[in-house]
């Protein structure tokens, strides 16, 4: 048992180090964009296109002579920022809806479940492509499509948690005491939900980044010259053979952020499990 506990502890420690390390790197990069940004991300300099790394351009320049590092860093703000907006919107719409559907039931719940079934029948990516295809390319429409796809997951998860919890005696007792539906939601149900939502959100965060990037890559999301990572990948496609690093940088950036999000998700899952310590 002691060996198991030890190795588990070790894994946990490694995880924490990994997250803190990666977060630190990312934060340093963001700080850099604010403090030291030397170049304009969209300023072209065709005379200096596809330059090798130098002091002036640590990651070289792209096919239009734009500084890759600058674009990458601004892209971080864009990609992460967009994902956060989409995620926040999905959570804000999904959680209250799930609470209500679970607690009230009735027609609201039935309508919701049919909508959820509809969305779950297709993969997220397909729906997002169809929607942003219908609405036309552009980051605004893409975000709208993502929120539309994602809120259902939150609502569904919250609903199922609520449905299991409401049957328990402590909720009955709260009702006997005349606590309002709102108070029961806030005091008794939210603590059950918050951990799950955070875990799901941190895992979704990585997925949304990938979704934004991949839709931008196929031209449905951010449009050139916006330095979004997926768009950058798309733009670097023709130069892949001669200058593969143009593709490698945004690719690595996406991998790093998604990795952090996933590790963070794992960590949060452990953290919100109140009972974990006592279980053998």
């Amino acid at each position: 048992m002691s060996v198991m506990a030890l190795s588990q502890k070790k894994i946990k420690k490694t995880k924490i180090w990994l997250i803190s390390g990666l977060l630190l790197v990312l934060l340093a990069l963001v700080a850099y964009t604010f403090l030291y940004l030397k170049h304009d991300a969209t300023m072209t300099d065709v005379g200096n296109r596809l330059a090798s790394p130098s002091w002036e351009h640590p990651m070289g320049t792209d096919h239009l002579g734009r500084d890759v590092l600058t674009r990458l860093l601004l892209g971080f703000r864009l990609t992460v920022g967009y994902s956060m907006i989409a995620l926040a919107a999905a959570v804000i719409i999904g959680v209250p809806f799930g609470l209500l559907a679970g607690l009230r039931g009735g027609w609201l719940d039935r309508v919701f479940m049919r909508i959820a079934d509809g969305f779950l029948a297709f993969p997220d990516t397909v729906i997002a492509i169809v929607l942003s295809g219908l609405l036309g390319p552009g980051i605004g429409n893409l975000l709208f499509a993502i929120v539309l796809v994602k809120w259902v997951n939150y609502a569904r998860m919250v609903r199922s948690t609520v449905l299991t919890e409401v049957q328990k005696d402590y909720i009955t007792i709260a009702r006997i005491n005349g606590l309002s539906t709102f108070t029961i939601m806030r005091k008794h149900l939210l603590p059950h939900i918050i951990g799950n939502v955070l875990v799901l959100a941190s895992l979704d965060f990585g997925k949304i980044i990938l979704l934004i990037s991949s839709l931008s890559y196929i031209g449905l999301g951010a449009q050139p010259p916006t330095p979004e990572w997926g768009a950058m990948l798309n733009e670097s496609r023709p130069y892949f053979q001669g200058n593969p690093e143009m593709m490698v940088y945004p690719g690595l950036a996406i991998v790093a952020v998604v990795l952090v999000a996933n590790v963070l998700g794992d960590y949060l899952r452990d953290k919100f499990d109140v009972k974990k310590e006592v279980q053998p």
């Binding site: 005696d169 059950h192 006592v278």
Partner: protein
């Protein structure tokens, strides 16, 4: 004075069978009434009707001489404040994600504006929590723990503390000892008796355990198949006029 009166109460879940069939009983102030029967006899359904969790299909419940059927919002709130409950399963009765003190304060926070507590005097919520834990013989540090850190008996003490915290007139005890191990069972029964002596509320003690009911209650009612068969003072338990079914129950213990 009569705290609560139930008249010709009826409740059914399916059309062919009444879960509670024309039951009438009343509970006096400071009294504990025991309600005994096998599982499925309707005793818990009766409790749920009394607690307002189930709608009644016939008959009436009268609290403080006011029938609940035509109670207004304020009367209903008054009723809820005065009727608390302790259920069989202490683990399910406490929110696993809340600290003990937060669960304990739930009824108090709900009714604090209309409460005038006689037995508890405190200047802070923390002090109140400590008093409550003390009265149910738990160490006061438990307030900051989570339910899973407590034993079954301790958790049941917490739910009892929660029920008495707003000094209700009646506590409905639905099999409060049935899921506890034997030593905790005895201790909980003793605690309930002590609390009644010091706080003076009434109990409706529902159990399949006639001996436990005998230990705690002054009056005993016997239910079978939804009907109230027998009701008697504790002293009359061996009276020859007891219902045959009551005699059968007595034979078991």
């Amino acid at each position: 004075m009569t705290v609560i009166e139930i008249n010709h109460l009826k409740k059914s879940y399916n059309p062919d069978k009444l879960a509670v069939n024309d039951v009438s009983l009343s509970i006096e102030e400071g009294e504990s009434l025991g309600l005994v029967g096998e599982s499925g006899c309707g005793k818990s359904t009766l409790a749920r009707c009394l607690l307002g969790v189930e709608r009644v299909d016939g008959g009436s419940i009268t609290f403080n001489e006011k029938p609940l059927a035509n109670a207004n919002r304020k009367d209903l709130r008054d009723y809820r404040r005065n009727v608390q409950t302790v259920f069989q399963n202490p683990t399910a009765s406490l929110n696993p994600k809340l600290k003990i003190k937060d669960s304990l304060l739930d009824p108090y926070l709900q009714f604090q504006n209309e409460l005038q507590l006689e037995h508890f005097h405190f200047t802070s919520k923390q002090a109140f929590v400590e008093q409550l834990l003390e009265i149910v013989e738990l160490p006061k540090e438990l307030g900051d723990r989570y339910p899973h850190e407590l034993s079954g008996g301790q958790k049941q003490r917490v739910t009892i503390a929660r029920a008495i915290s707003i000094e209700p007139k009646l506590i409905v005890l639905d099999e409060p000892t049935a899921s506890l191990d034997v030593l905790s069972q005895g201790a909980i029964l003793e605690l309930l008796a002590t609390l009644q002596k010091s706080l003076g509320m009434s109990y409706l003690f529902i159990s399949h355990d006639l001996a436990a009911v005998y230990q705690l209650c002054q009056r005993i009612a016997v239910m079978k198949d939804g009907e109230l068969l027998d009701m008697f003072q504790k002293e009359d338990i061996y009276n020859s006029r007891r219902h045959e079914y009551t005699k059968e129950l007595i034979g078991i213990f």
